[in-house]
């Protein structure tokens, strides 16, 4: 081969290898970047007045007078919106008018009876009023504007009729006028269509602003408040102003999403200027404010993680990992000490080493099966505990899982203690045991701690082993070692896949997993730092 070709090949090779490392860095950024970016919005975000209201209601956080002040400020704009919607609703849904006309009629007949009118006179006047009532009901039902106006005109002719003069029934005319006004700018042929669109708008407005103050409080906490975050509120605003629908452009082609401005959808009606109004006064309605919601890490969450934080999950993860460490630490260190200090290369040692390697390779889900079959069904019941998944079973399973990590790390740490330390101690007459406890172990301790931290991070992230041995998606903070617990790892799974409500609150989905990832990365960073320090010390002097 020519020298040049060889040279070029060499260069290409270097670039390709560098590219593979670069690719890895890109992957790391692609995986972590969006996760951390979106997850941080669970803690740092712009909150609306609804958020502050919720915090006050649920946790008594914030200044009550200040928040009440904010609420009354936004109430002004909200009332206007509600007023608009209600006014429009009357034209759509004439139940309101029908009810009123019925009520007037009822009051009218009561009034007559009260005034002592009886017999034919009573039935004659009631019959007349009933006639008007029927006409009006017909007008409310009708979709033909001309017909309605004619009916109303007809009714108005009876104004001042002696049969109903000076009674409740005169209110019929006021009602008829009101109805005439309502339908003035109203395309009645679109009533059905409007009804549907209005329902959509109403539910969106409810999601944005929360239930009205005169409504009964919804049972679910997630329904009690409007959009608590500005990003969610903005999304809703977009949905309120723009209606999205899938339109078939031509047959055989895929549907295309089309945006329709709702102002045009409601053009010519009372509701037309509602949408620009909401958009213009959006800040005054929501009163956004930058919030650092550090309580995310201690708060419990409402059902489906809709509101609140990951407090119980963090607590559960810590309990499980620390407990697992308590079990595995002595076992790991003693095993490592034996492997380094006492064992000679023979059959026993080979078997032990092979088992450690096997243990390291066993799939985590098999650990889960083992935990279920052994700790849950046999081990804990044997000592009189309940035979059900619990924290103790889960942490024991995790301890077995992390045993090889612990042994390897401790072994390495003990091995890296300079021989001179040991020899000096032995030379001074200390026994082997004493030498190990007083000299080797303290010198190896930082390395062992590094191993502990790495095992902790491994244990904290494991999900499969605790699926059947002690993790649960819901439930209160664990009261004893024999209850199940929520954990960050299982919670991340559940909020991403298991729970439908989670999809509504992406910031909480990402927040949960980022809490887990950051916890683990922090642990790892500490371990890496520690190790670098030890490395320097052992190398240095």
């Amino acid at each position: 081969m020519k020298y040049n070709t060889r040279h070029i090949l060499n260069k290409i090779f270097t670039v390709v290898t560098a590219a593979s490392v670069a690719l890895m860095i890109v992957i790391l950024i692609a995986v972590l970047g969006p996760m951390i970016w979106r997850g941080s919005s669970a803690v740092f975000f712009k909150s609306t007045v609804e958020f502050r209201k919720m915090q006050l209601d649920l946790h008594r956080r914030g200044d009550k007078t200040e928040i009440d002040d904010e609420i009354s400020q936004s109430e002004v704009y909200r009332d206007f919106i509600y007023h608009k919607i209600d006014a429009f609703k009357k034209g759509i849904n004439t139940d309101y008018y029908t009810d009123r006309v019925k009520k007037i009629y009822r009051q009218f007949s009561k009034e007559l009876q009260y005034n002592g009118i009886k017999g034919d006179e009573l039935s004659r006047r009631r019959k007349f009023a009933r006639g008007i009532r029927r006409d009006m009901e017909k007008a409310f039902r009708s979709l033909n504007k001309a017909e309605i106006l004619q009916i109303i005109d007809n009714i108005n002719k009876f104004k001042g009729d002696e049969r109903i003069a000076n009674t409740k029934a005169v209110e019929f005319f006021a009602l008829a006028d009101e109805y005439r006004k309502t339908i003035k700018n109203f395309d009645l042929s679109k009533r059905q269509q409007y009804a549907q669109a209005l329902e959509e708008v109403e539910s969106l407005v409810k999601q944005l602003l929360g239930p009205r103050s005169n409504e009964p409080l919804p049972a679910m906490i997630m329904d009690r408040y409007g959009a608590t975050r500005l990003d969610l509120a903005n999304e809703l605003l977009g949905k309120i102003i723009w209606k999205r629908q899938w339109v078939q452009q031509s047959s055989g082609k895929p549907m295309i999403e089309e945006k329709i401005c709702r102002s045009t959808q409601f053009a010519g009606t009372e509701l037309e200027d509602l949408f620009p109004y909401i958009e213009e006064n959006f800040d005054k309605i929501t009163i956004p404010r930058f919030t650092f919601y550090w309580q995310y890490f201690i708060d419990d969450s409402t059902s489906g993680h809709y509101f609140g934080g990951v407090g119980p999950e963090i607590l559960g993860t810590l309990i499980l990992t620390v407990l697992a460490m308590v079990f595995v630490f002595p076992l790991g260190v003693i095993s490592a000490a034996y492997l380094v200090e006492c064992a000679s290369e023979n059959m026993v040692l080979r078997i032990i080493r092979m088992c450690i390697n096997t243990l390291a390779g066993v799939p985590s889900i098999v650990f889960g099966l083992f935990g279920l079959a052994f700790f849950v069904l046999v081990f804990i019941p044997f000592f009189g505990g309940p035979s059900k998944p619990c924290i103790l079973a889960a942490s024991l399973t995790l301890a077995v899982l992390t045993l090889p990590v612990m042994i390897r790390a401790s072994e390495e740490a003990i091995r890296s203690v300079p021989k001179t330390y040991k020899e000096a101690s032995l030379g001074l007459g200390a026994s082997q045991f004493r030498t190990f406890v007083k000299v080797t172990l303290p010198a190896a301790l930082p390395g062992i701690l590094t191993g502990v931290i790495l095992s902790l991070s491994r244990v904290a992230g494991e999900t499969a082993p605790i699926l059947f041995t002690g993790a649960c998606a819901f439930g209160s903070v664990p009261k004893s070692l024999f209850s199940q617990t929520r954990t960050l790892s299982y919670g991340s799974y559940d909020i991403a896949v298991g729970d439908k409500i989670g999809m509504l609150v992406p910031h909480n989905q990402y927040g949960m997993v980022v809490t887990l990832v950051l916890l683990i990365i922090c642990l790892n960073a500490i371990a890496i730092f520690f190790r670098a320090k030890i490395f320097r010390r052992l190398k240095g002097h």
Binding site: T14, C355, F374, A430, A464, S489, A496, Y510
Partner: protein, 325 residues
């Protein structure tokens, strides 16, 4: 016992503080016994990992025994019919075995070249300082928990794949393979790098001295010498991919089917691990379905055990080979 004075000839010298440097026979005996008992105790504690492995095998196999006794193993391994909850339940795990193999192989196709090239880059091409900078990246990739990778697969990668390539579903074999390969990378890189850097300086320098370029040196000298270690690295990466649960459960779509045509990565598959994780929560304890999941676990365990022995063989042979040189 080498550190105690055991000279019986001299009279015990009375120490002013009342301590004697010379041990009485009883003290000597207890010391001897304590030493050996202590060692025995340590050995017992150390064998806890042996006991753990034994217990894992024993209990997982014990729970699967009712299934293995009653059902035909051949059917279990060769039938595609997996209807554990039907009126006449059928337990054919073939589609799950194939699913596991499918995503594993697909992930290795990506992970092995990238992993080995990255290992070469780190061991042979860049300076120590850059290597120290890249190492934490690998460590963090290895440390990210599998559930976080699964989360990424479902909420980030799946919608992206669906929009970009127009797949019917974003949670498919391709998605699972991509994420599994990311997870297998750190294992492959660290083991391969270890074995590549243990290839001696002398070999490399001899090759350079003969006028070979770096590319030729690495491809014709270093990699062939380190091949056992690299094979071990690939097998360890494979073990990581086969045993992985959360990612495949979340990202592979969980349809118990064998993709047709076989190369179509955009179809959903289901792996053994995912079927254990997904179905165990819904079974009644003591039902055939429950035992069959343990049988799947046994299958997985045997597979991993075999792979482990193979990788061990290659690692040992790598050590021997490099030891000789």
């Amino acid at each position: 016992m080498e550190n105690t004075i055991t000279n019986r000839e001299t009279e015990p010298v009375a120490d002013p503080s009342g301590l004697s440097l010379v041990l009485t026979p009883l003290e000597d005996l207890t010391g001897f016994l304590l030493h050996h008992l202590g060692r025995l105790l340590l050995l017992l504690i150390t064998s806890s990992s042996v006991i753990a492995v034994f217990l894992i095998f024993f209990f997982v196999i014990r729970e699967s025994m009712p299934f293995l006794k009653e059902h035909d193993m051949v059917e279990f391994l060769t039938s595609k019919q997996w209807y554990p909850e039907a009126d006449t339940p059928k337990f054919g795990a073939l589609s799950m075995i194939v699913g596991s193999a499918y995503v594993t192989v697909a992930s290795l196709i990506f992970a092995v070249p990238v992993g080995i090239l990255a290992a070469v880059f780190l061991s042979d091409i860049v300076s120590f300082r850059i290597r120290e900078l890249v190492k934490p990246v690998i460590e963090i990739l290895a440390a990210i928990p599998s559930v976080a990778y699964g989360f990424f697969a479902v909420l980030v990668l799946a919608p992206w794949l669906q929009n970009k390539f127009g797949f019917t579903t974003g949670t498919n074999a391709l998605n699972a393979s991509i994420v599994l390969s990311i997870m297998a990378l750190p294992t492959i890189i660290s083991v391969a790098e270890d074995s590549i850097s243990t290839v001696g300086r002398e070999l490399r320098e001899a090759s350079y001295g003969l006028g070979a370029t770096r590319f030729e040196t690495i491809f014709k000298v270093v990699l062939p010498t380190a091949h056992s270690g690299i094979i071990a690295a690939v097998i360890l990466g494979m073990m990581r991919a086969i045993g992985e649960t959360m990612v495949v459960w979340m990202a592979s779509g969980n349809a118990a089917q064998i993709p047709t045509p076989w190369w179509d990565l955009s179809q959903s598959v289901r792996t053994m691990t995912a079927s254990i994780a997904g179905e165990m929560g819904e079974t009644v304890k003591g039902s055939d379905h429950y035992y069959s999941l343990f049988a799947t676990g046994v299958l997985l365990l045997v597979l991993i055990f075999a792979l482990n022995i193979i990788s061990e063989y290659f690692l040992v042979s790598a050590k021997k080979k490099l030891g000789k040189i």
